[in-house]
């Protein structure tokens, strides 16, 4: 493993720790996302890795070498800040050259490397301008070039896309991923946007209240969330309280629901993603199979959001959100329609009740 974070902790005074008992590691060339709500400690973690914040305890290792007590300027890490943090009194070329000058690189080489770094982010021709003369997207490319030109051991990105408008954000996201893969740059990417993290990260660390909730591939995180917090954070989800029965089914409200998880005892929290539930008009419905849950209900509300239809359906198990892709072939259901809901047992996520928090 190339970057190793071991039992990292950060405390400010006597407050609850901002980051506690955090461990994860990255292989060379891997892009790892740190995902979580604001205040979850992801930016503090990034700043500890870069050395801008001193860890209270724990270790940070790069290539096997302990850098925990090394000052920032000796860590050789490229950091891209949310506000870009370009030097306003320097030209674009001077901004990009700064890290090379600090490394005492020869003048001719600096010029060459600055030019190729600017070419890499497709920013030729602005070398002599000042940062304020550039658009937000361009400033961001400069920040990326400045961080990469020094050939850092690790690239750290702190919410790099959140100051861009939506369209630019998608382009930039893919561009960052493309450059990262081309350079095989070991990268940590901090974001609060799960789509962003899912789209480009090899693995994701989901953090909440300073602690690691789950680490895994985007697929793991979405399909097999380790905690209710992760399940709720990475997408819309139905949340119902149930009770394990002796036969392995779960009593939810006045109905029975089955999950693939082996049975348990006592209270259980179940979650189902709205778009994993099928809707049929009542009457067409076939009987339930061992692999599927079937519940009948009545449409209460409809939200039409263009590409999807969001239904709120009252069922014996409780109110369920159901999401369907819109289609020109079928008319949407109307409020008051009787419907049958069907979903696979493996789409019933179960969490033991003490994990609900």
């Amino acid at each position: 493993m190339y970057l190793e974070v071991e039992s990292l902790e950060k405390r400010y005074g006597h407050l609850a720790p901002s980051v506690a008992d955090l461990s994860f590691s990255l292989g060379q060339g891997e892009l790892l996302g740190l995902l979580g709500p604001s205040g979850c400690g992801k930016t503090t973690t990034l700043r500890m890795i870069s050395g801008l914040v001193q860890a209270t305890s724990g270790k940070i290792k790069v290539g096997g070498q302990d850098v925990t007590r090394l000052p920032t300027y000796r860590r050789n890490m490229g950091v891209m800040f949310q506000s870009y943090a370009l030097f306003p009194h320097m030209t674009i070329a001077e901004n990009v050259a700064f890290g090379l000058q600090m490394r005492k690189i020869r003048k001719q080489d600096i010029a060459k490397r600055v030019a190729s770094a600017l070419a890499m982010v497709r920013l030729e021709g602005v070398a002599d301008r000042k940062p304020r003369e550039l658009s937000g997207g361009q400033q961001q490319r400069v920040a990326l070039a400045r961080a990469l030109v020094v050939e850092p051991d690790i690239l750290l990105l702190d919410e790099p896309l959140s100051n861009l408008d939506a369209k630019l954000r998608d382009n930039m996201r893919n561009e960052i991923r493309e450059i990262q893969q081309r350079l095989r740059m070991t990268t940590v990417f901090v974001t609060h946007d799960q789509t962003e993290a899912m789209a480009i990260c090899d693995r994701i660390v989901v953090m909440n209240r300073g602690k690691l909730e789950q680490i895994g591939t985007p697929l793991d995180i979405y399909e097999r969330p380790a905690t209710p917090m992760v399940a709720e954070f990475v997408g819309r989800i139905n949340r119902l309280d149930g009770q394990w029965r002796n036969d392995g089914a779960i009593a939810v409200g006045d109905s029975l629901v089955r999950a693939n998880a082996s049975g348990g005892a006592g209270r259980v929290l179940i979650m189902i993603r709205p778009h994993r539930i099928d809707l049929e008009a009542a009457g067409e419905a076939s009987v339930g199979s061992p692999e599927a849950n079937v519940v009948v209900g009545t449409i209460r509300h409809i939200n039409y959001v263009g590409d999807t239809l969001q239904y709120a359906v009252a069922t014996a198990a409780g109110l369920l959100q159901v999401e369907k892709a819109t289609s020109s072939a079928t008319d949407p259901f109307q409020p008051g329609d009787s419907v049958t809901l069907r979903w696979k047992t493996r789409d019933t996520l179960t969490f033991s009740s003490e994990a609900t928090g």
């Binding site: 870069s50 050395g51 801008l52 000052p71 920032t72 300027y73 000796r74 860590r75 050789n76 890490m77 490229g78 950091v79 800040f81 506000s83 943090a85 370009l86 030097f87 306003p88 009194h89 700064f98 890290g99 600090m102 490394r103 940062p131 304020r132 400045r146 961080a147 020094v150």
Partner: protein
Amino acid sequence: MLPKIARGVHALSIILILMFLLAPVILVFPISFSADAYVAWPPSAWSARWYVALLHNEEMVTAFRNSLLIAACVTVITLVVAMPAAVALTRWSFRGQDALISLFTAPLLLPSIVLGLAILVIFAGYGLVSSWPGVVIAHLVITLPYALRVLMTGLGTMPSFVEDAAGTLGAAPWQVFRQITLPLMTPALVASAALAFIVSFDEVVISLFIAGTQLKLLPVSLYHYVESWTDPLVAAVSALLVLGTLGIVLIVERAIGLGKAVSK
């Protein structure tokens, strides 16, 4: 129709206020070119005789030179002391920080006559009255708070994270200061230097207490001169002072304008 009248009244009132504020300052210039032996308006004839008289007035020339030197010393020391203090007070965090900031800027709130008297009482015991170091130290008491305020504001409004960014690019703390912090603070440095210079050069009350009779300072000599003479010589001195101050203010304006252009 009505808005037109309103606008006219608005413009007129602005002109009146400006005249009220500036008339005494502007009047000094024609009076300084009076050929009369006393201050009168309008002068009966024009001449540059009072400027010539000023050049031959040994006390005024000495006082002018002394004040200039003192102000220069005070300015340099102010920057040397206030700069690191401002960095410490804005960049570090330690116990009693807010209390220290209040303490350091408190002299701005005290009447200078109180300060002058207090400093006189203390200095008398150490033989500092009427001495160069004494006057410089006394002036520092009022220039430092100004400079500290301006520099702290300058540091506080610096674009966020640029110093951090320099650190991550391999700049050691002193390189960050030299290459990032200092250049970005230049406008604030120029402004606080100009403030310190003007405040020291123009200070009357504290100088009256501390300068005594041996060490001639321009504001004090001017004050004493007006007590016994009423000729346009003071107008000539005033005209020069106004021009000098204007020059410094222009420098600051340029620096601040520059600062606006540089920051974000």
